[in-house]
């Protein structure tokens, strides 16, 4: 039993190694900037991206490229909050309306994808173009804005509560429900999964719906920060997706060691740590992207089980042992 625990602990340690090392480096480089409040700040900042990434992870896991996820958020907010405003809505109504609208959009993207049967990369780019247009045309253009009282959705308590709820939903859906099992089956071997009687199309559509749902949560919280949502056009919403996909990649790289949902959060924290560290150390922020890219590759490298990497690792181990001896 203790062996099992040790094994688990080792896995978790490896999974969080990168953020941990980053943290230690930062602690040494800029100790004044790494107090408790800062750590809390970083974790809190990782929450929003993680929520979107959890949604996107369901699609990514299936090998689907959901380039419309960003447009899903933006259009969902604009339509949802717009409708709620016109219904004279309070904050709760706005939030619910956004979540419903985002989920509905997710469903539509999913249905379009299974109906037209083209690769998701194309169908979602098409959806994205259409959604972005809709966001720009809706309510005569200009997006939506909400009352300042909507700022309660930016309170620490609400954000943390939402994140915990999203995390639980994501965890249970992914690891504990029939849908989660089917999702993993389809992700690993779609052909056999179909033969075993799993409705592959349904699984895919539901993954799009989940993306929509999490987009909704994400939208509710971001709107709480900015109070306005401007439309985006010309694929401007894609950056949001790339950031979320980045988190998924990190999670996928360490999935063997730690649950995908936890991995996504680790990914989000890593990205925030990098951004924070770059500001704290005083390197130009332009370098953000490059640093994130390197971190991603390092994640992949430590979890890679490809032949060359295994060989390299065993060589390192041998030389390490030798140097100790």
């Amino acid at each position: 039993m203790s062996k099992k625990i040790a094994y688990k602990a080792k896995n978790i340690l490896i999974a969080v190694a990168i953020p941990l090392i980053l943290y230690i480096v930062l602690l040494l480089a800029a100790p004044q900037a790494m107090g408790d409040t800062q750590i809390f700040g970083i974790l809190r900042q990782a929450m929003l991206p993680a929520i979107l990434a959890w949604g996107v992870a369901f699609a990514c896991k299936l090998g689907l490229w959901h380039f419309a996820a960003g447009a899903n958020v933006i259009t969902g907010i604009i339509l949802g909050a717009g409708i709620a405003n016109r219904l004279g809505g309070g904050n709760a109504l706005i939030a619910i309306s956004i979540i419903l609208m985002c989920t509905l959009i997710g469903l539509l993207c999913g249905l379009i994808y299974v109906w037209i049967k083209v690769p998701s990369i194309i169908s979602t780019v098409g959806c994205m173009l259409i959604l972005e247009s809709v966001s720009a045309l809706a309510w005569g253009g200009g997006g939506v804005s909400v009352d300042k009282s909507y700022g309660i959705f930016n309170g620490n308590v609400v954000v943390i509560a939402c994140t915990v709820i999203c995390c639980l939903i994501a965890y249970f859906v992914y690891s504990r429900t029939k849908y989660g099992f089917n999702l993993k089956a389809v992700a690993s071997d779609i052909k056999v999964a179909e033969q075993q009687g799993i409705d592959v199309r349904k699984v895919k559509v539901i993954s799009f719906v989940l993306v929509g749902l999490f987009s909704g949560f994400y939208g509710v919280l971001t709107l709480g920060r900015s109070f306005v949502q401007n439309p985006t056009t010309n694929m401007g919403s894609m950056d949001m997706v790339f950031n979320a996909i980045m988190c998924f990649f990190v999670a996928a790289a360490i999935e063997k060691r730690i649950n995908l949902i936890a991995g996504v959060f680790i990914g989000a924290v890593t990205v925030q740590l990098i951004k924070f560290g770059i500001v704290a150390i005083g390197i130009s922020g332009q370098f953000n992207n490059a640093a994130v890219a390197i971190a991603l590759l390092v994640f992949c490298a430590i979890s890679s089980e490809s032949g060359p990497m295994l060989k390299l690792r065993s060589k390192l181990r041998v030389s390490f042992d030798r140097s100790r001896a």
Binding site: A30, Q32, A33, T37, Q38, G41, I42, Q45, L48, A136, G141, G142, G143, S145, K148, G151, N154, T222, R225, S226, F227, V228, Q229, N230, P231, T232, T233, N234, M235, G236, D239, M240, Q272, K275, F276, V279, A280, G282, S284, G285, Q286, N288, N289
Partner: protein, 368 residues
């Protein structure tokens, strides 16, 4: 025109038809029976018409275009020189009579002008001057270059720093954008040069060009967390809701904020207590640019050489300023149709004087 909402719809459809007509006529060179200026179409190449400034600019441009009876063809979403080149080519295919452009990459200004020269149509840039020497010289020597208009970005940056200093700030945080957008680059450069000159301490956080409101708030938090001594913040951009978010985020703290972009609820933002200065009113810039280009197209050019104008920023420093601004700038139709005609007829000096007059007070006066 404030009062001609009804007409505008009719005019709108008319201009659209006119636009399509232009395309075939100017191409085939057929003789045309309509009034000479009813079928002028102008291409507008702008980063976007959805964010705060872009949308305001479009509103203001559309209002003036209507007065001038010009149809505008927009191209948005090009964030690099290559795509803007493509935009130019496509606009020329659409048969526009002139191009109004907010150039993304300073050094490609002359290359874009060359495309216009090949087609023999004039070009005007707005929100920009030309910093690259070669490009500047080339453009200024060209017959088809109508000129450029820009705000004094660097100057505004200096004023912001001064304002923050006046309100007691000692250490500064700069929320910058990734390099690449000429106008924002200039603001940032202006602020940083001035801070260096004065020997003040400042820290910089750089966000990507498509940063969302959330990204920008996170960047702010990170900057403040990493450097807790910051007490003055300068936002070089954030019209996509970011500035609203930052103001709310910092509410209650004693950090002073200045910004180049305006939040949705300006008076409210001032009342929140942290905001000390905003620059705004820039949507007039493309309007002057359009008028200048229109004059050039219709052969009534204001000067023989390309015109170099500076357009004013409107500074807001209090909730009252903001209330005044809200009151008079809701539609962005600063000039009535007659006044627009007047601007067209004006000679260079009066036009420049008029642009120099542009201020909160002037607009408030007019609107009353």
């Amino acid at each position: 025109g404030c009062g001609n909402n009804k007409d505008s719809e009719a005019a709108d459809s008319q201009t659209k038809d006119g636009g399509a007509g232009t395309v075939s006529e100017s191409g085939s060179g057929e003789e045309d029976s309509k009034a000479a200026d009813s079928d002028i179409s102008i291409g507008v190449v702008i980063w976007s018409t959805d964010d705060g400034l872009g949308a305001d600019s479009k509103t203001a441009l559309d209002a003036v275009a209507e007065d001038l009876n010009v149809s505008l063809v927009y191209r948005t979403g090009s964030y690099d020189a290559e795509s803007q080149t493509t935009d130019y080519e496509n606009l020329l295919a659409a048969g526009v009579d002139g191009i109004l452009c907010c150039v993304i990459n300073d050094t490609s200004t002359d290359d874009l002008l060359k495309i216009c020269e090949e087609a023999g149509i004039p070009m005007q840039i707005f929100f920009r001057n030309i910093m690259d020497e070669d490009a500047y010289n080339y453009c200024m020597a060209s017959d088809l270059f109508a000129g450029y208009i820009c705000e004094d970005e660097g100057g505004a940056g200096v004023d912001m720093v001064d304002e923050l200093l006046a309100s007691g700030c000692t250490t500064f945080g700069l929320l910058n954008r990734e390099a690449g957008n000429g106008v924002i680059d200039r603001r940032q450069a202006g602020v940083m040069e001035y801070l260096d000159e004065k020997g003040l301490t400042y820290y910089v956080s750089t966000s990507s060009n498509t940063a969302t409101a959330t990204d920008m708030v996170d960047a702010t938090d990170q900057l403040l967390a990493a450097h807790s001594d910051i007490n003055g913040l300068i936002c070089s951009s954030g019209s996509n809701g970011a500035i609203d978010a930052i103001i709310t985020d910092l509410q209650g703290s004693d950090i002073k904020i200045t910004s180049f972009d305006t939040p949705v609820d300006i008076p409210g933002s001032f009342e929140a207590g942290n905001l000390v200065m905003l620059t705004t009113g820039a949507q007039i810039d493309p309007v002057y640019a359009l008028i200048n280009l229109y004059c050039k197209i219709t052969g009534k050019a204001k000067s023989d050489t390309p015109a170099e104008y500076g357009s004013n920023y409107i500074y807001m420093k209090s909730a009252e300023d903001a209330a005044t601004y809200e009151q008079y700038f809701s539609e962005f139709n600063t000039y009535t149709a007659e006044e627009v005609q007047g601007l067209v007829e004006m000679d260079l000096d009066s036009f420049v004087a008029e642009m120099g007059n542009y201020s909160l007070e002037m607009v408030a006066e007019k609107m009353k």
